[in-house]
C-alpha cells in the first residue's frame, strides 16, 4: 500500500526498469557496441538499468579481444567499466557460457552467473527491454 512506502522506496518504484538483453556477438555486427552506447547515455538518467548477456552476447565479455587486425575500435574495455555506471545487475547466462566452452574466468569483468529459469520472473518485472 502506498501509504506504507517510505519516500526512498516510493521513488525506486517510480523508476523505469530497463533491461538490456545482449544476445549478439561483438564485431560481426554493430548491435552490442551500439547497445553499450545506449547504456552509457541512459546511466545519466536516474533509472534502473539491468543487463543480461546471453547466447552469443556472452562473447562480448571475452577477455583478450584485440581488434587491431580488423582495424576497428576495441569497445570491449567499456564493458569493464559498466559497474561504475550504476548498473544494477550484470547477469550472464550460465548455459550460453558453457555451450561456448567459456568459464567465468574468461570474462573481462565480474558478473552474476544465472540460469535462464531464474531470469523468467525477473524479465517479467521489467518495464522496457532493449535487445542488442
Amino acid at each position: 500500500m502506498v501509504e506504507e512506502n517510505i519516500p526512498d522506496e516510493q521513488s525506486e518504484e517510480d523508476k523505469t526498469k530497463f533491461l538490456f538483453i545482449m544476445k549478439k556477438s561483438p564485431h560481426g555486427s554493430t548491435y552490442p557496441q551500439e547497445g553499450l552506447e545506449v547504456i552509457l547515455i541512459m546511466a545519466a538518467y536516474d533509472q534502473t538499468i539491468n543487463v543480461l548477456f546471453t547466447d552469443d552476447g556472452v562473447f562480448c565479455l571475452k577477455k583478450g579481444q584485440d581488434t587491431k587486425g580488423i582495424k576497428v575500435k576495441d569497445f570491449s574495455a567499456t564493458f569493464k567499466v559498466l559497474e561504475q555506471y550504476g548498473i544494477e545487475h550484470m547477469y550472464v547466462d550460465r548455459q550460453s557460457l558453457e555451450d561456448r566452452g567459456l568459464k567465468e574466468s574468461d570474462l573481462l569483468t565480474g558478473v552474476e552467473l544465472v540460469d535462464s529459469e531464474e531470469m523468467r520472473e525477473f524479465i517479467r518485472e521489467q518495464d522496457v527491454i532493449l535487445p542488442f
Binding site: T16, A44, Y45, D127, L130, P131
Partner: protein, 119 residues
C-alpha cells in the same frame, strides 16, 4: 495508450522497417498514440529523402514522412548513427529530426510501451 517504437534496420534489406510501419499504422487506427519513433543504427536510412524506388514498389521513406507528419509523430534520427551512414540535415525526410540517445531514454521512460523492430 502511448507506444514508443525503435527501428534498427534500414529500408528494403530486412523486413523490420515494413513491420514497424504496419504496426504503427494499426496502432494509430486503433486509437493509440505513438509517443515517438527512434531510428538507430541502420534504422536511420529509413529517413533518407534521396530515395526513388521503382513506381510499382512501396516508397518507404515517403510513406514514413507522410505518416509522421499527418499524425504529428516525433521521429528521431540518432545523430551518431546518422553521421556514420550519411543521413544529415541535407537528406532527411520532412517530419523527422536529428537528436541523441537521450531521446530514446526519455521515450522509454514516458511511453507506456517501447517496442523494437530489428534483425
Amino acid at each position: 495508450m502511448k507506444f514508443g517504437v525503435m527501428i534498427l534496420e534500414g529500408p528494403y534489406q530486412h523486413q523490420a522497417s515494413d513491420s514497424a510501419y504496419n504496426f504503427v499504422e494499426s496502432a494509430l487506427k486503433k486509437g493509440h498514440e505513438i509517443a515517438g519513433i527512434f531510428l538507430y543504427t541502420d534504422g536511420v536510412e529509413n529517413a533518407t529523402s534521396f530515395m526513388t524506388p521503382p513506381q510499382d514498389d512501396r516508397h518507404i521513406s515517403k510513406r514514413w514522412a507522410e505518416l509522421i507528419q499527418k499524425n504529428g509523430i516525433d521521429t528521431i534520427v540518432c545523430i551518431a548513427a546518422g553521421k556514420r551512414r550519411g543521413i544529415t540535415e541535407a537528406n532527411i525526410i520532412k517530419g523527422a529530426r536529428i537528436s541523441g540517445l537521450g531521446q530514446l531514454t526519455e521515450l522509454g521512460i514516458n511511453a507506456d510501451r517501447l517496442i523494437t523492430f530489428g534483425d
